[in-house]
């Protein structure tokens, strides 16, 4: 194993990890706000990737150009999910909450299969393609742009929740919804907003992934699993820390594959997950 291959792996893992992080951020945001794990998160990603694909296939819109549109569609999907489903089960037992989003996941996946078939689809000749060669290292340009985009989206999200009044209201609701309500914050609106923003994060991630990853109805599940790990690593409800969680997952995945064995790379990632959950059930930087 040469240093060059390892360095290449490190770079690849880092780039992919940033995208994982953005997917995980949406998950973490929703969880932090109302302690509900969105099991349909992967399917949200699938919807985003399909909308990216169709924007390209039907109108000829490049994934990057379609990004605001995809984010908007997912924002609306998030809000609709809250008002149509989540709001009604908030007071219900824990199990009902789990099965509600799980059911939504199955519904979205089967719906996509019924509407668009099961084939794999790729956006051909996106605006950004090819790769950079730097001192023997190869970096795919779509991957580079995707990770930069993910980082930018992350920064915007961070700015929004820490620097704007609405963002602070969101945080206040997450900390104590009763107290927030007493302070005159419309918590229902905040919940809906949280779902909207959480879904919009996946919307951005889906558009970025759409530049180089194939889409099919089951694509979400592969990414969602890694996103759950990233959330657990960073800490449940701690949005900024998922950035670290995502990057760690991305890097450990590739390095585990290179240094130990590709067969065991999922084992390495999930062993790390189990270790963290056992040692610090709230995650490395969790606040619960």
């Amino acid at each position: 194993m040469t240093a060059e291959v390892l360095l290449q792996g490190l770079v690849g893992g880092l780039l992919m990890g940033l995208v994982y992080a953005l997917i995980a951020a949406g998950l973490s945001l929703i969880f932090g706000l109302m302690e509900i794990v969105n099991f349909a998160h992967g399917e949200f990603l699938m919807v985003a990737m399909f909308s990216t694909f169709w924007a390209w296939a039907v109108v000829g819109l490049d994934p990057l150009a379609a990004l605001p549109l995809t984010a908007a569609i997912l924002f609306l999907l998030g809000i609709a999910t809250y008002h149509g489903l989540i709001r009604w089960i908030l007071g219900g037992p824990m199990l009902a909450q789990i099965f509600a989003t799980f059911g939504l996941a199955v519904f979205l996946r089967s719906g996509a299969q019924a509407l668009w078939g099961v084939d794999f689809r790729l956006v051909k000749d996106p605006l950004v393609q090819g790769r950079l060669e730097l001192a023997g290292l190869f970096v795919g340009l779509p991957q580079l742009v995707a990770s930069a985009g993910a980082l930018a989206a992350f920064a915007a999200l961070y700015w929004f929740i820490t620097r704007t009044e609405t963002g602070l209201a969101l945080q206040a609701t997450a900390q104590d919804r009763q107290a927030a309500a007493l302070m005159g914050i419309d918590t229902q609106r905040m919940f809906a907003l949280g779902w909207g923003i959480g879904a919009a994060c996946v919307g951005v991630a889906g558009a970025l992934l759409g530049m180089f990853f194939y889409v099919f109805p089951d694509v979400g599940s592969t990414f969602a699993l890694l996103a759950y790990v990233a959330v657990a690593l960073g800490g449940f409800g701690n949005v900024p820390a998922t950035l670290l969680g995502g990057v760690v997952v991305g890097v450990v995945e590739v390095m585990g594959g290179l240094l130990i064995s590709p067969t065991l790379k999922a084992v390495v990632v999930f062993a790390m997950y189990l270790a963290v959950v056992l040692w610090r059930p709230q995650g490395l930087f969790g606040r619960f």
Partner: protein, 421 residues
């Protein structure tokens, strides 16, 4: 007292075992359970295969002027014109689901035979159920060699397995060495980690030893991977003379993309069918797959020499809009083999069907596959199989090996990524 209970229980069991088999003979209708993945990663391949089965059913039940078994005249003449009905189930690519569905098809739906299931792992569990119930199981496309090594009495496979397929790859490597005056020393094996990929890799490793090639690198990966950077990085570091991948469709696409990103340039790539022969693969990778070689039991470019292939392809295209490719072509052939046996059995009694399957002998001119016949050996494996190799040239697969069947010359070495632009 206890002894009495045991005695009674034993009697009940004995009576149960001795009870006559349910009257399945002389049905107006023959029911066949068909298992394929209709959701999940391999769903498109499953849908194509189901379309191929439906086409075969249509050809048997209707009256067609085609040179395949049972095309002329309606229904099965051996059973007084009985028609075939299929019950299609989705096993989602999961061995446990396949097992449960096989159980249900046999006990609830009372099917006369089972057919499917693409994934070797699922075929393994589903055929176990059939074996236990004594119901014939015909498989047309699962390529794990182990499936016909289990000593099963009710399992038949019309397709070549990875032993045949891999053999042809190594013969090809040796012949290419002679032809081009090159020398291959090392091979690299990359495989997805379910039964198909793992068994394929095992056979390839044994053959490499036998043919005197060193296995420089062997990599297993999950077919649902989101990232193959580590795998391709390892291949690049080891840089074997020949790369032998065994992958399903999505991971094959991801591999090509990753190789492009990381500038990994195999000089010779010989793939184990599956993902590489799915039409989706060439459609989505396009010129990035130029020069890739795959073993394939079916070759559409042979239609020029065999009009039957063109006729069947035209009918198939009307069903799903896609060209006939390897897996559905094998499903079509396998299903007609089963129908032919039931017809000769003149009965839906499982034992009669089994005997008829054993006696199967379909000649080459009635096949759309490049095989010499469909004829089962004592393990239930079709002994008339012949594997061919195809290479992607100008965006289409053309037959390149065996050399006497070749439609084009081999492109070697494969162009590097720098040369491709």
């Amino acid at each position: 007292m206890n002894r009495l209970v045991v005695l009674v229980a034993a009697l009940v069991v004995a009576v149960g075992l001795a009870a006559p088999a349910p009257a399945r003979a002389q049905a107006r209708e023959v029911v066949i359970g068909v298992l394929y993945p209709l959701s999940g990663n391999a769903a498109q391949v499953g849908l194509d295969s189901v379309n191929a089965v439906k086409l075969a059913v249509e050809i048997v039940n209707g009256n067609y002027d085609l040179n395949v078994p049972l095309a002329r005249g309606e229904g099965l003449p051996g059973l007084g014109g009985a028609r075939i009905r299929v019950i299609v189930v989705d096993h989602q690519g999961k061995p446990d689901v396949g097992q449960g569905e096989a159980e249900r098809l046999i006990t609830q739906e009372k099917v006369h035979a089972l057919f499917g299931a693409y994934f070797s792992s699922v075929t393994g569990t589903a055929s176990q159920v059939a074996e236990r119930h004594g119901i014939p199981y015909v498989n047309a496309e699962s390529s794990s060699p182990a499936l016909t090594e289990r000593g099963f009495k009710w399992f038949f496979r019309t397709s070549p397995h990875d032993g045949h397929f891999s053999q042809v790859m190594f013969d090809f490597m040796r012949d290419l060495e002679k032809r081009r005056g090159v020398k291959f020393k090392t091979v690299g094996i990359m495989h997805e980690a379910t039964q198909f990929g793992s068994d394929s890799a095992k056979v390839q490793e044994e053959l490499a030893r036998k043919y005197g090639y060193e296995v420089a690198v062997k990599i297993a990966y999950r077919d649902k991977a989101t990232n193959l950077d580590a795998e391709v990085g390892r291949l690049k570091a080891a840089n074997p003379d020949v790369l032998l991948p065994s992958s399903y469709t999505n991971d094959a696409i991801l591999f090509v993309r990753t190789a492009k990103n990381l500038d990994y340039n195999p000089r010779l790539l010989i793939a184990q069918d599956a993902g590489w022969t799915d039409p989706t693969f060439l459609r989505e990778t396009g010129k990035d797959a130029e020069g890739h070689i795959t073993r394939a039991p079916f070759a559409l470019d042979m239609a020029a020499k065999k009009p039957l292939i063109r006729q069947v392809n035209e009918m198939f295209k009307k069903m799903g809009g896609r060209d006939l490719s390897d897996v559905p072509a094998r499903a079509f052939t396998g299903f007609l083999t089963l129908a032919d046996a039931i017809n000769r059995a003149k009965s839906t009694n499982p034992e009669e069907i089994r005997k008829a399957l054993v006696a199967t002998n379909i000649p080459a001119d009635q096949l759309i596959m490049p095989w010499t016949a469909v004829k089962f050996d004592d393990k239930g494996q079709n002994a008339g199989v012949r594997a061919i190799l195809q290479q992607a040239q100008k965006g289409q697969y053309v037959t390149i090996y065996p050399f006497e069947l070749a439609a084009a010359d081999v492109m070697y070495p494969m162009p590097t990524w720098k040369e491709r632009r």
